[in-house]
C-alpha cells in the first residue's frame, strides 16, 4: 500500500471507530421489542445526593428483581437512568434525551423545578407519566398536572399531620404554640401558607416564622428570636440536614425546651443519626415504614432480601423504600392499562393511576392506599428515642 492509501485507510478507520463509539451507548440502549423502558434522571450527586442515590438504587433494584420474576404483564423492563446533579437544566436535558432516544412511558425526575419545566412538553407529548421525589402541593393536581403523581403525601399534607399531632398533644383548651423554620427555596416555602392556615383553624398560635438560606451556616441570630418567642414546637422544613442540628443544639444551649419536628426528608435514619444527642425527642412525619420496623411485613421483608444482596446497604434508607414503591406503582399502572387492552399512553396511564384504590402495598404503608389525587395522603408520626425511631401515632390519612 502506498503511503497515501495507508494514511487514508487509517484515517477513515479512526473516523469510523470514532463514529461507532459515539453510537455505542445508542446501540446498547436500543430497546428490544416488547420491552418497556423506564427513564429516570435521579439526583445521584449534588445537594440531594443522600436521597438520590437511594431512590435510584431502589427503583433500579425493583426493576431488576421484577425482570427476574418474568417482567410485568409478560414484558421485560429496561431502566435507563442518568444523574442530574439536582440541577434543573441537567434533568430537563436528560429527560429530553431519553424521551427522544427510548420513548419511555414512565419517567422518574429529580425536583419540583424539573416537574414544572417539563409539564408543557409532557402534556404535548401525551405519552409519558412522570413522578419524582418532589412532594410540592401544586403538583398533586389531576387537572393542572395530569401526568404527574407523587409517591407520598404533599408537603402541606405532612405539615397538616404534624399540626394535628400538636393539637392532640395538649389535654386542655390552650393549644401549644408553634414556630416555623424553613428555607428560602421552593421546597421550603411550599407548605407554609397552608400550614399557617391549618394552624389557625386548629387554634394553634404560630409565634414565629424564621426563613433562612438553604445551607445556613450561622444561625445564632435566628435562635435569639426563637428564644424570645418561646414556642412549644419548632417545625423545620425545606432542609437536607444543616442547619437543623445546629438549631437544636443552640436552642438547648439557650435553655429552650421546645421540641423539634421535621418532614419526610429530615426523617431518614441517616439524617437523624447525624444529629447525635440533640436528636432525642425529635418528632417527624414519615409516610413509609422504616426498614428496621419491628412489625414484619411482606414487602419490607422482600426489600430486605433483595437489597441486602447489594453492596453498601442502601436498602436500609427510606429513599430505597420510596424507589421500590415507585416501581410497584409503575407495575400497577402498566398492568391496569394493558389489562384493559389499552396502549401505554398518557391519558390511559392517568386513568389507570387514578383507578388505584384500596391497594395494599404489603407493608410500605400501614393502610391500603389510593392514588386518585395523584398523591398518597398517608403518614405516621415518629419519635426519635436514643438510637431508634419509633412510631408515635397511628397511620393517619389526611383529607
Amino acid at each position: 500500500m502506498s503511503i497515501i492509501d495507508r494514511r487514508r485507510f487509517l484515517g477513515s478507520g479512526a473516523a469510523a471507530a470514532g463514529l461507532a463509539s459515539l453510537g455505542l451507548p445508542l446501540r446498547t440502549a436500543l430497546a428490544q421489542s416488547g420491552e418497556i423502558v423506564i427513564g429516570a434522571a435521579p439526583p445521584i450527586t449534588g445537594v440531594f445526593a443522600f436521597a438520590g442515590a437511594g431512590l435510584h438504587a431502589g427503583l433500579g433494584d425493583w426493576i431488576e428483581w421484577k425482570n427476574g420474576q418474568g417482567g410485568v404483564a409478560g414484558r421485560k423492563l429496561r431502566y435507563v437512568a442518568e444523574d442530574s446533579g439536582y440541577k434543573v437544566d441537567q434533568s430537563v436535558a436528560i429527560f429530553k434525551k431519553i424521551v427522544a432516544q427510548h420513548k419511555p412511558p414512565l419517567f422518574y425526575g429529580d425536583s419540583t423545578g424539573w416537574a414544572k419545566a417539563i409539564a408543557p412538553e409532557v402534556s404535548q407529548l401525551g405519552s409519558v407519566l412522570a413522578t419524582g421525589p418532589s412532594f410540592a402541593s401544586d403538583l398533586a393536581d389531576p387537572v393542572k398536572a395530569p401526568y404527574y403523581f407523587m409517591p407520598g403525601p404533599t408537603y402541606s399534607g405532612q405539615i397538616d399531620v404534624l399540626l394535628e399531632y400538636v393539637s392532640r398533644s395538649a389535654a386542655g383548651a390552650t393549644k401549644p404554640s408553634v414556630a416555623f423554620v424553613y428555607s428560602d427555596t421552593e421546597f421550603g416555602r411550599d407548605p407554609i401558607a397552608s400550614g399557617k392556615a391549618k394552624a389557625q383553624k386548629l387554634g394553634i398560635p404560630v409565634v414565629l416564622e424564621v426563613i433562612t438560606k438553604p445551607g445556613a451556616v450561622d444561625v445564632s441570630a435566628e435562635v435569639i428570636k426563637l428564644r424570645r418567642a418561646k414556642p412549644d414546637f419548632v417545625i423545620f422544613h425545606g432542609y437536607v440536614l444543616a442547619p437543623i442540628p445546629e438549631f437544636m443544639r443552640q436552642m438547648r444551649d439557650a435553655g429552650m425546651s421546645a421540641r423539634g419536628m421535621g418532614t419526610i426528608y429530615s426523617m431518614d435514619k441517616s439524617t437523624i443519626d447525624q444529629m447525635g444527642a440533640v436528636g432525642a425527642g425529635f418528632l417527624g412525619v414519615m409516610p413509609y415504614r422504616y426498614s428496621f420496623d419491628t412489625q414484619k411485613t411482606p414487602t419490607m421483608e422482600l426489600i430486605r432480601q433483595v437489597g441486602s444482596r447489594k453492596p453498601n446497604n442502601p436498602w436500609q434508607t427510606t429513599f430505597y423504600t420510596q424507589g421500590w414503591l415507585v416501581g410497584m406503582i409503575f407495575e400497577q399502572v402498566i398492568t391496569r392499562t394493558l389489562g384493559a387492552k389499552k396502549e401505554l399512553t398518557g391519558p390511559n396511564m392517568k386513568a389507570a393511576l387514578e383507578s388505584i384504590a384500596k391497594w395494599d402495598t404489603g407493608g410500605i404503608f400501614g393502610v391500603p392506599i389510593s392514588l386518585k389525587t395523584h398523591s398518597i395522603p398517608v403518614g405516621r408520626v415518629y419519635l426519635v428515642k436514643g438510637t431508634t425511631i419509633e412510631p408515635n401515632s397511628d397511620w393517619i390519612t389526611i383529607g
Binding site: I224, R227, G276
Partner: protein, 292 residues
C-alpha cells in the same frame, strides 16, 4: 425599641464577625502578597475541613495531630497552587487571574465531591458550648470561642508581620518587589509563603465553620459573603478586613432581627455598593495610582 434585644443581636453579630474577619484575612494576605483575589478561598476552607475530617474522624487521630496534618496538607496545596497556577500567569490581565482562581475552585470542588462524596458529614464539637449569660443576654459558647480563636490568630499574624524578619520581608516584597529583590529578599519565596499562610487561615476558618454546622462540598459558598467584607474594608488592608468583618457580622445579625433571614446575604452587598460610591477603594484600601 427593645434595647436589650438590640444589644443581644449586636453582640452576637459582632462575635460572629470574628470568623468572617478570619476568612477576610486570608483574602487580604493573598492580595497584599500577589495582587490577586483568590476566588478559590472557599474551596481551600472546604478542603481544609475535609482533611481534618479524614484525619480526625476517619483515621481517628487526636485533634492536635489531625490539625497539624491538615495545616501541613493545606500549606502544600497553597505552595503547589502558587507554583503551577499563579506563577505562569504573572503579569496577565486581572480577568485572567480571577478566572484562573475560579477555575481552580471548580477543580477543588470536583475533587472533593469525587473523593468524599456529596453527602453531609459531621465534625465533632471542637469549641465548648457553654453559653455566657449577661443578665437577659445569652451569648452562645461556640460564637464566643470562634471569636476568641479568630482574634488570637489575627493577632498572631499581625505580630508576625510587624515583628519578625520573615513577616517584614513579606510586607516589603508585597509593597515593592523590585526594591525587595535589590535588598536580597527572595520575593518568590515570600509569595509562596503568602499562599501557604492564606491556605492555613482558610483551613482553620473552614474547620471552625464545619464544626459549627456540617461538612459538605458546598461549605465554600461562605466565602462569597466574605467578598463583601474585603471590598468594604479595602482589598489590601488587614485592619480593614477586621473592621469590615465585624461590621458585616453586625449587619447580618441586625438584618435577621429586623428584616428576616432571606435578606441576610444581601444587605452586606448593598452596603458595599453604597460605600463604593463614596470610597471606591473601600474603607481602608490604598488608592491605586495608574501610570500611563
Amino acid at each position: 425599641m427593645d434595647w436589650l434585644l438590640l444589644a443581644e443581636f449586636s453582640l452576637v453579630g459582632l462575635l460572629s464577625g470574628g470568623v468572617l474577619a478570619l476568612i477576610a484575612l486570608g483574602f487580604v494576605l493573598v492580595y497584599k502578597g500577589t495582587r490577586v483575589i483568590n476566588f478559590a478561598m472557599g474551596e481551600f476552607m472546604m478542603i481544609g475541613a475535609y482533611l481534618f475530617w479524614t484525619a480526625n474522624v476517619f483515621l481517628k487521630l487526636p485533634w492536635w495531630a489531625a490539625l497539624a496534618l491538615t495545616l501541613a496538607g493545606i500549606a502544600v496545596l497553597g505552595a503547589v497552587v502558587e507554583r503551577f497556577v499563579l506563577r505562569p500567569l504573572a503579569g496577565q490581565p486581572v480577568i485572567s487571574i480571577v478566572m484562573a482562581t475560579i477555575g481552580l475552585g471548580a477543580v477543588l470542588h470536583g475533587v472533593a465531591e469525587a473523593v468524599w462524596g456529596g453527602a453531609n458529614l459531621s465534625l465533632p464539637q471542637l469549641l465548648p458550648r457553654t453559653p455566657l449569660t449577661l443578665g437577659e443576654i445569652l451569648l452562645p459558647g461556640q460564637v464566643l470561642w470562634s471569636f476568641a480563636l479568630a482574634v488570637a490568630l489575627i493577632a498572631g499574624f499581625t505580630a508576625y508581620f510587624h515583628l519578625s524578619k520573615g513577616g517584614v520581608s513579606m510586607r516589603a516584597a508585597a509593597s515593592d518587589p523590585v526594591t525587595a529583590y535589590a535588598m536580597g529578599i527572595d520575593v518568590r519565596r515570600t509569595q509562596r509563603l503568602t499562599w501557604m499562610f492564606a491556605g492555613v487561615t482558610g483551613a482553620v476558618a473552614g474547620i471552625i465553620v464545619a464544626s459549627m454546622t456540617s461538612l459538605s462540598p458546598t461549605l465554600g459558598t461562605v466565602a462569597l459573603g466574605v467578598l463583601a467584607v474585603i471590598i468594604l474594608g479595602g482589598l489590601d488592608s488587614i485592619a480593614g478586613a477586621i473592621v469590615a468583618g465585624l461590621i458585616v457580622g453586625l449587619l447580618e445579625s441586625l438584618t435577621v432581627a429586623f428584616i428576616g433571614g432571606q435578606a441576610r446575604d444581601l444587605v452586606p452587598y448593598l452596603v458595599v455598593l453604597v460605600i463604593l460610591m463614596v470610597r471606591p477603594y473601600g474603607l481602608f484600601g490604598t488608592r491605586d495610582i495608574e501610570r500611563l
